[in-house]
Assembly symmetry: C2
Homo-oligomer: 218 residues x 2
């Protein structure tokens, strides 16, 4: 590295960051950590990896500057190093969605089908919340909800949604959100709600993007 020209060295560093994004498991881990700080074990469990394997992926992303870690008692907690990491992942997903033929097919075949119903933007939702016109539904797991959520949001993890439908208003519009743009929970929730006669829409992306945009969180 030291023998390279400054520019070549810099580009080599940028390439390291890109490499750290270049694995599906690591993108899954990034989405998990975008919700909240987690221990190695939590990451491993949530992403269905062995502890040692998760630890290795986490170390690699920390070395690339995507994550930072801190010790809390026996545990090591990891989180995103910077909101700019979210922007990077968003840019990656935008290019991926736009340009990759295979991804386009997947998006077309699964996500788009569940989304003929236009998603609502953060701006729109903010306006409607101010007017008290919507019920906001957070369909992420409870622990992620606890770590931060939209103001006045109701938490109902997807698995429990069917049983709790009676608690939701039929007359008001419901806006569901989850982890991010490609999180399936919100798609599924909207589909289920509509099948049961609710007025439901999906927020265009998830909690991390809302928080990163500087909008109020609880």
């Amino acid at each position: 590295m030291s023998s390279l020209s400054p520019k070549a060295a810099l580009f080599a560093e940028f390439a390291e960051v890109a490499k750290a994004l270049g694995h599906a498991h690591r993108l899954v881990i990034l989405e998990l950590l975008a919700q909240r700080e987690r221990s190695v074990e939590e990451v491993a469990t949530a992403s269905r990896l062995s502890i040692a394997n998760a630890s290795q992926h986490l170390r690699l992303m920390r070395q690339a500057g995507l994550l930072v870690s801190r010790r809390d008692g026996k545990q090591i907690l990891y989180r995103l190093s910077d909101p700019a990491v979210l922007d990077l992942v968003a840019a990656l997903q935008r290019v991926g969605e736009r340009n990759v033929a295979a991804a386009r097919e997947i998006v077309g075949g699964y996500f788009r089908a569940r989304d003929s119903l236009e998603p609502i933007t953060r701006e729109e939702l903010t306006a409607r919340m101010k007017d008290g016109l919507v019920t906001v539904l957070d369909v992420r797991p409870e622990d992620e909800f606890e770590a931060g959520h939209l103001p006045h949001a109701i938490n109902t993890p997807l698995r429990e949604l069917a049983e709790r439908l009676r608690n939701l208003p039929k007359d008001r519009e419901i806006v569901a959100y989850c982890r991010g743009h490609y999180c399936v929970f919100a798609f599924e929730a909207v589909a289920m709600l509509r099948e049961n006669g609710f007025k439901a829409r999906r927020l265009e992306d998830g909690f991390p993007e809302w928080k990163a945009a500087g909008l109020p969180v609880m």
Copy 2:
């Protein structure tokens, strides 16, 4: 791929895009193609790779959706598939610069030293150009200048700058630009100009970003 859940398949596709960015040579090639469409041979020559090697990197990036190619007579010409690719590379560089300790050192040691002089933003430059207050200097190679440049810009490749200093105005501010944020030409040009008593500054980034921002080009 077909056996994966839709979300896992999508994340695997995003990972492919990231992998395609994960090599210093490919980032160099992307910077070259951000200036203008080029043939395989031109890319190979400019990036100092063998033809077969350059061809392989280009194919890989095309498969990932970063590039598109077309045939023109005997040659195959490659270009960026979409302006979103520029955003992605910019996001990557931002994270790289912010988070990677090694990169920070390089940036500190080389780029920052040459840039105590604040760079000028696109907005500022647009305003000053309107008032006719600046001379705009394009220090990229001639072929890249020919393919597109800022309005009223003067092209003086860095190698020829020393000989052509007499042709530049001492009383007006000179703003130099080149390929992008991490292109060394503009840094070097500003340093040389200042050593010779000119009022010189650097544009914050390069021609591709200017064009992508929808500003006028010639």
